[in-house]
């Protein structure tokens, strides 16, 4: 249990800027996720904390102490690997005991702690098995037990669920979360799966191109994305780029006049809206107040039981995804039908076109 501080971490690989002066602070006992597409620098960041990658400049502090010069094997960090990295020539018990043996703990204590750790991951009674007799999910549970049994200051997880099938992924995800809560270990978790990140984390840092775009709770990341990148990467998002603005922030879009005061003085804006925030109506449907109202033609419909997904080709040119909750037979418009889309202004996200940064609505 320790606070982790990363201060101006810089790492340049030949031709690739992996980490561009990254600053992060992870609170004691927090479950912190680094989220981003492959090559964004999240794994480099994790391996820098572990001690497998040496940063070009910057400081790593754990519980206030600089650990940059400490070799990986003396850092007292637990790590869970994407490919499990279970030692195939050792039994489950020996795998879990490995770190305790390195620390020279007495035999009795090792046996007790190994048994306890295996119970924690619901693998009690598996100590004598060899790894190849275990399923992928069980192997990763061994990896988890092996990492926490040494009572590390921090726990690092490098896409631990990406080699598992969907059902196991959700199951083990919940187990990891429960275990982390009950032990209270400061945890840094790396994933490219935004759904996983939202479900499991206390806070998320969204990374791209070696930079952290936004740090926040899952709700903040999803509902108030700070950049267009975060908006598009986390969850589904419709983006309408380069919308021209008139005097006082009036939009050149929609069948009824529409104005956003905080856009006054700008010439263009990028509008983003989540599919679930759109209201789909027939061609003669209501025109909602305080909303951007667009018209178009249904291009595609996919019915998925409790919801339906529409793709609408707008008259203005862009395509927009719309979700309809609990669709009724009569509300199912066919491809080719003209429709009207209401986008409540309060649900719209506004971004500055060249920088992609969020324009906050005046409150």
């Amino acid at each position: 249990m320790a606070r982790v501080e990363l201060h101006r971490i810089h790492k340049l690989y030949p031709g690739v800027l992996a980490l561009d002066d990254v600053d992060l602070a992870i609170e004691s006992g927090e479950f912190f996720t680094l989220l981003g597409p492959s090559g964004c620098g999240k794994t480099t960041m994790l391996r820098t904390v572990a001690g497998f990658t040496r940063q070009d400049s910057g400081e790593v502090r754990v519980a206030g102490e600089r650990i940059d010069a400490v070799p990986a094997h003396r850092r007292n960090i637990g790590m869970v690997f994407q490919d499990y990295a279970i030692f195939p020539h050792l039994t489950v018990g020996e795998n879990v005991a490995f770190g305790l043996v390195n620390r020279g703990r007495p035999r009795q204590e090792i046996d007790r702690r190994v048994a306890h750790a295996l119970d924690l991951v619901r693998l009690g009674g598996y100590a004598a098995r060899l790894p190849h007799q275990l399923s992928g999910g069980q192997q990763q549970r061994v990896g988890l037990a092996r990492a926490v049994v040494i009572e590390p200051q921090i726990l690092l997880m490098d896409e631990p669920l990406s080699n598992l099938d969907a059902k196991l992924r959700v199951e083990l995800r919940d187990d990891i979360r429960d275990l982390q809560r009950s032990l209270g270990i400061t945890t840094i978790y790396v994933t490219h799966d935004q759904e996983e990140a939202l479900a499991i984390s206390d806070r998320i840092g969204v990374m791209q191109g070696g930079r952290v775009h936004q740090v926040g709770t899952p709700w903040e990341i999803y509902a108030k994305p700070k950049t267009l990148f975060v908006a598009s990467f986390v969850g589904a998002m419709n983006v309408i780029e380069g919308v021209a603005l008139g005097d006082g922030g009036s939009l050149s879009l929609g069948i009824v006049p529409c104005r956003a005061p905080m856009l006054a003085g700008r010439r263009r804006v990028t509008i983003a809206v989540r599919p679930e925030d759109t209201r789909l109506a027939g061609a003669d449907g209501d025109v909602a107040g305080n909303a951007l109202v667009l018209e178009g033609v249904v291009d595609k419909v996919a019915f998925a039981g409790r919801e339906a997904f529409y793709r609408v080709q707008l008259d203005e040119g862009a395509q927009v995804q719309a979700h309809v909750q609990r669709p009724e037979p009569r509300s199912l418009e066919r491809p080719g039908a003209r429709v009207r889309l209401n986008l409540p202004l309060a649900r719209l996200h506004w971004f500055d076109p060249p920088t992609g940064t969020r324009i906050e609505a005046a409150t």
């Binding site: 040496r54 094997h73 990295a85 030692f87 490995f98 990896g143």
Partner: protein, 550 residues
Amino acid sequence: MSRRSRLDFWSGVLIVALAVVVLLMLLPLYRIFAASLIDNRSGVLTLANFTQILGRPAYEAALVNSLIVGAGGMVGATLLGIPLAALTTRFSIAGRDLLATLAVLALVSPPFIGAYAWIMMLGSNGWLRALLGEVGIGLPPIYGMFGILLVFSLKFYPFVFLLTSSGLGAISPSLEEAAESLGAGPWRRFFKVTLPLVLPAVSSGALLAFVLSIADFGTPSIVGGQVRLLATTAFDLFTAEMGGNPGLASATSVVLIAISMAVVVLQRWAVRRRDVAGSLIRRPSTRRLGPVASVAAHVACYAIVLAGALPSLVIIVTSFRKTRGPVFHPGFGVDSYARILGEVPQVIANSFTYSTVAVAMIVVFGTLIGYVLSRRDTMASGVLDGVLLIPYIVPGVVMGLAFAVTFNVPPLQITGTAAIIVLMLFVRRLPYTVRSSAAILKQIKGGIEEAAIILGAPPWRAFVKVTLPLMLPGVIAGALMSFITAINELSSSLILYVGRTMTMPVRIYLSVLDGEFGTASALSTILLVATGIAVFAVFRISDRKESAFI
């Protein structure tokens, strides 16, 4: 700190490896190349040695004969190997493991043993020839080109067989079914789908047969009669009593290397776009044959492998025949063994000592170099990887000659010592172990070492506790393989030996030339038993993978 010292250790390994390679591979080969371009008497730079090979009928014949032997050995091995592979992988043949084991035994037994066993059967006084003569089948003695090709075909077919079998085993049946559903008949399916997919495997086996056929020295000199080849010519030119001809011997060697290299390049080019590694969800299954076809298939399979294994059986039986001096008497006994233990215990001891020392060196160097090559990607390791291909294409005779001319002058004067023979065995087999351990390491994920480190093990401890145990089965199997080839090495030892450093293969060769078949058979049996034990051990370790022997 530990990071830096680790860097230094592996850099040190790289430097030592490069030094070994320069001293034991590049320098000797450079000496051969240089000698081939220099006139023996005047010492001036000349191409005369090469024009002689192409100009004088005797040398030209040797060149042509070598090409015939290479092509013939390759064709023979392919004609035996492909049908055997196709039958055993596609149809249910009883005793598939037995067939594969016999093929492996034929593969690992030294070729000169096969040569003289066939002479005992089909030579001028061969018992099989006499037997066939009595029933009215008159055969000429097998000396000459026919004998060479017979021995090579039966000796090298296992390469084609084993490689093609694993190639066929890796083709998903869905591919053939897809071709069928798209309207391809059986023949079209075979030529358009199956054959192209298995071609890299077949051609690798065929290539090996070609290169080993032209490189082999023992077989043509025992069974070749008047047929001269490049390998035997180079040997004779170098060792001739009346002042050899090092220039011409070297030029002959260079031509041999050039042919091997050309064949390797040709094979690489032929299979350049054919990466057949695909995901294999369904394993190919075997089909049952009708009764007539089944009998025919079994006869064909067993005829091939038994013919391949026959020489070894003949040798073992012969070693227990009663002898007085070089003459066989009716009945069985252990006279030949008594004789070799009395006369040449030193030879037996030499063989085991040299091979063991060479293998120990190979294991240490091969494992360390393999680790460097697989975990570090620098220019030096790239160069090393390329240079280590040399022993694959340089015949033993040539390497022996190169060692003899390089290490007979101070400060590197070691000719006539046991060291030169051990170093030769070491350098000839080192690349195989380097490659196999690099391949093993590629399968051990790097993350597993990191897992050990993050759990508190210092890097050396992570290597010893995790990496090494995982490498060990592969390393031991590789060591046994090296032992098999080391203890059976003839051609280079024949050039480098002196009386007190004689090895078993050399003694067998000399005994055969003197007509002492009893002595030769007893020594050969010891070699076969040692080899057989090593094969058994490899099978135990490597989970019965016949491909481990290639």
